[in-house]
Symmetry: none
Subunit: 200 residues, 4 copies
DNA sequence: GATGAATGAGTGTTCATTCAT
DNA sequence: GATGAATGAACACTCATTCAT
């Protein structure tokens, strides 16, 4: 039966250590040698599993994108009552903390990489697209059921995601300002307010 | 006595090329050699003016921060009529495009650097602090004059900046979605709406 | 499992070439690049085996010290007759030529390094200590058997080593002055004379 | 009358700082930049006064050699009584501490340089030659007056200088062993002993 | 599968030096 | 006299990578 491949063990293991090194030393400091050292393994082994560093970076971004998209915005369709369902959405949105899943620094490092690398960019665009379209559906549904008042769900969802993204970013710049609970309440009320107004 | 220093000319010149290289090759790709090559000077000349690369990075960040803070939010006190003044604020805010002044990628690269380097972080925090406090004053002023209704101007300004930051970021992920004009109108109406509501 | 290490071969090989370059170009001229060039290998290979240049220098000094201490003053205890044994000692001492084992220039270069680096110094001190204590034992033994007359064997051995060291050094400054044979005879008679006198 | 040259002030000043840097960082660590920094002066200035670094090294060696030869072995001819004169010589010799005048490390660094550079070597050889010939004259004089018994004053002076050189060196390797006074007495008695014996 | 040998390009930085001011 | 501009070679060292074992 031959030797069993360890790739599906080793590859995630490598990516995980890659990730850790980026957190501590930044993208520019994350060399194969350092990752290998941290894994107490020979640098060549990383090349063995990823051929090139470029492939490793790709792997990392895929992993990050996958993590994100799996975690962001669950399926709300189990809830039948439209009002309750919208409440669920609001609840989830206001709790959304980007970096619950992926480290802030790593995320932005990968993101800026996407500004040069079209393939990486494509993945990020797809990610936000997925997120936006899911949210859009919920907004449409709620709107159709008279819970909120939105003519342009697309713009609405885009703006809400912007707000969340920004709030998440801002959290790192002025961390002491408010508690998670305050933040949650505030986002909730803002989202409610603007979706009930005639902004969209 | 002695030769005249060209530091005043050379240092900005170097930083500017540094900046350009980051845009094209990312922070990790911006080596002294590449910058020098682009300037058609010897790499050691950069060291002559900036002792270490670290100092060069510091210089760049200072430059970026300075550019930002000089441009962001002008003085509105010339306008005497409170309503008009608030209109001005709204106008400026809704037009705010972070990357009008500093390249998006460079900005986020420097920002992530701040997540590891306390001194850099300090500068970013100070930048946003300045921005927030200026906006806060305008919110307070408008509120006192009954134009908007805000009990907590700090939270309000924080949230508005978050929204702007996020919208700016989001622009890069879904660029095709709306025109600058649409964006402007939308932000304006959202800000107006939430500051008139009882969110804050 | 894995490839066989060549460190046992490569490390001494590197040190040997390091040594040669020092002889020709001095300590300050012995760069990794030059050593590598002489070995017809890539400079980074030296780093592969010695991590840093500092470690290479350490390796060299260890090697030199080891060479010295292995060669200096053999075991005289095979000879049972005290008079004959002392003759043996005299014979060996008078023939001692420091640089039979280690190049004069390299030795002094390493030595001066020890004047700044405590660890290097420690090794040199230990070397001379070993040498002195061995000689002391022989002096004591000869003295107890009435061949020489020494109350303070420590001082005696210290002074004899000084004389040998100095004679060795001086040889380079006035090389033409006398033959090795003359030198040998002279040292022998001086050592004999002072150990029989009441100097010590 | 023109501007007065500052060369005879600057050159010694530079050499003196060169010397200091060698002591602290070794010959290989003594760069023009470091010396200039220590002098709080521009590196170019050192080149201005010495054209090349090589010339600076030459200057340093000349300075060291000059310092030495001026200090070593004064003129004893003022003393008329041969016995007293020899006592003076013994006194001076036994007190001779090479590094009273020139730092030990600097001296050996320059010396090893002489092992490669013929011109430097020539200077060192001349130094020791002077020293040896002066001592030889004293030995001859004392011998002719029956104070000591030496047939070959050249060999005798060579050996004594060797002993002094070695003792001086050894002092650094085993510094704790004896006091300066003990050392002095010992050297004196050894020199006396061997010059009265029939070694030479 | 995993290690180590070996490479060559590249890193930031220091070096001595020349020249203009 | 003294400084600073500028260079180009060299420095120790790190990088990703290939290949043999």
């Amino acid at each position: 039966m031959g030797r069993k491949s360890k790739a599906n063990v080793r590859r995630p293991e490598i990516l995980s250590h890659f990730y850790d090194v980026i957190i501590e030393e930044g993208f520019e400091g994350a060399s194969i040698a350092k990752i290998a050292k941290r894994m107490k393994v020979n640098p060549s082994l990383l090349i063995h599993y990823f051929s090139t560093k470029e492939a490793m970076v790709s792997g990392l971004i895929e992993y990050i994108i996958a993590t994100y998209s799996n975690q962001l915005l669950p399926d709300f369709s189990r809830e039948n009552d439209p009002a309750m369902r919208w409440e669920d959405v609001l609840e989830v949105i206001s709790r959304l903390n980007w970096d619950m899943f992926v480290n802030h620094a790593v995320y932005y490092n990968c993101y800026t990489l996407g500004l040069r690398d079209p393939e990486v960019r494509r993945q990020f665009v797809a990610l936000y697209e997925t997120l936006a379209s899911r949210l859009m559906l919920e907004i449409e549904f709620a709107s159709q059921n008279g819970i909120i008042s939105v003519r342009d769900p697309q713009k609405a969802s885009d703006m809400i995601i912007s707000l969340l993204e920004g709030a998440n970013f801002y959290q790192y710049v002025r961390p002491q300002e408010w508690t998670l609970e305050q933040r949650r309440e505030l986002i909730r009320s803002i989202v409610s307010t603007i979706l009930k107004s005639d902004c969209f």
